[in-house]
Symmetry: C2
Subunit: 186 residues, 2 copies
Amino acid sequence: MTRKPVERGDVIPLLGEIFREHGYAGASLSAITERTGLGKGSLYHFFPDGKDEMARVVLDDVADWFETQVFAPLRDSEDAAAGIDHMFRAVVQFFHSGRRVCLVGTFALDETRDRFAVEVQSYFSAWTRALASALRRRGLKTRHARETAEDVVAGIQGALVLARSQDDPALFVRAMKRLQQRTRAV
Amino acid sequence: MTRKPVERGDVIPLLGEIFREHGYAGASLSAITERTGLGKGSLYHFFPDGKDEMARVVLDDVADWFETQVFAPLRDSEDAAAGIDHMFRAVVQFFHSGRRVCLVGTFALDETRDRFAVEVQSYFSAWTRALASALRRRGLKTRHARETAEDVVAGIQGALVLARSQDDPALFVRAMKRLQQRTRAV
DNA sequence: TCTACGTTGTACCGATCAGTACATAACCCG
DNA sequence: CGGGTTATGTACTGATCGGTACAACGTAGA
C-alpha cells in the first residue's frame, strides 16, 4: 500500500475540471488546493509558474488528447466517414454527454483568451481543418467542406452552451446526432 | 452644458460590456469604477446589492432587448420569414458582427450559471421557442421546428466562440449567412 | 437663503487573492 | 544505515477583493 502515488500528471485532469467549472479568473488557488488535495508547497513545486502554468499544461493536455483521438483519425483514417463518426463518439464521450463544458471555449469567451491566444486559436483551427479534410475526402468541394466544418465545430460549442444553460445533457446528445447526420448527407 | 447627466440607466450598457469581457468573476469592482467613471459611493447608491445586482440588471436589460427586438417579431410577425430575417439582422448588429460576445452564453459556461440559473435558462428557452414558432408558421412540423431552432441558436453561440477564438469577425458573419439560408430552405 | 435629498469621494473593513520562504518530512539509491 | 533529492505543510507577504460608513457636496424647492 503505497502512501501517495501523486505525480504531476495525476493532477492535470483535476486542474482541467477546476478551470472548466470556474474559468481561469474564478479558479482560486484555494479551490485548487482543496480539489487536488495538494498544498501550495506541492503545487508550486510541480508548477513553479503558478496558475498560468497550470492552465497552460491543461490546455496542452487537452490539445494532445484531441490531436490523437480526434484530429489524427479525421485526417488519416482511410474511411473518412468512419473518422467523422469516430469524432462524434469521442466528442460525446469527452464532454460527458454535455455535462462537461469545453475548457478552450470557456477561455475563448472572456479576457482569458488574450493570455492563451495562441493555444485557443490553434485548437479550433486544427479541429476545423482536420474535419474539413475528412469532408473533402467524402467528396465535398474545398470551400463547402471548410464551411461545413466550421458549422459543425460551432454547432458543438453552441450545443454545449445551450445544454448547460438548460441543464439538459440530452439536448447536447440530440444535437450531436443531427450534426452527424448532416455530415453524412453529402 | 449640464454637468453630469449620469443616471442609473446610463451605466447599464457599460456594465454589460465589462461583464462580457471579464466574465462575472473577473469583473472586479475596480474595473467597474474605472470603466464607468463612477466611484464606489455612486455605484452602491445605484446598486445597493453590489455586483450581483449589477449583473442581474444587465441580464434583465439584455432579456428586454431580445424580447422586443427579436423574440416578439419572431412570434408575432405576419410574415414568419421576415421575422426570421429580422432576427439575423438584429443578431449581427447586437453582437457587433462577432466582435462582441454573448453575455448570457459567458455566464452559462462557468459556475456563474448557478447564480443566475433562472435568467440564463429562460433567455435561451425563450429564444428557441420563439424561433421554433416562426419556423412552424413557415411549415415545419413541430418537432423539426424545435430541432432546427435549437441548431440555429446553438450555431449562433458557437459561431461567437469560434469567431472570437480566431479573432475573425468575418467568420461569424459568414456563419450567420449560412444559418439564415438553412431557415429558408423549408 | 435654508433645508432636504440625491449623489459622490474617501477612508476603512475583514477576507481572500496569488505567490514566496523555508524547515521538515518522505523517499530513493548506495 | 547514511545522504541527497523530492515533496510537502505552514507561515507569511503585499495586493486586491467586495462591501460599508460617513462626511461633504450639489441642486431643487420652499
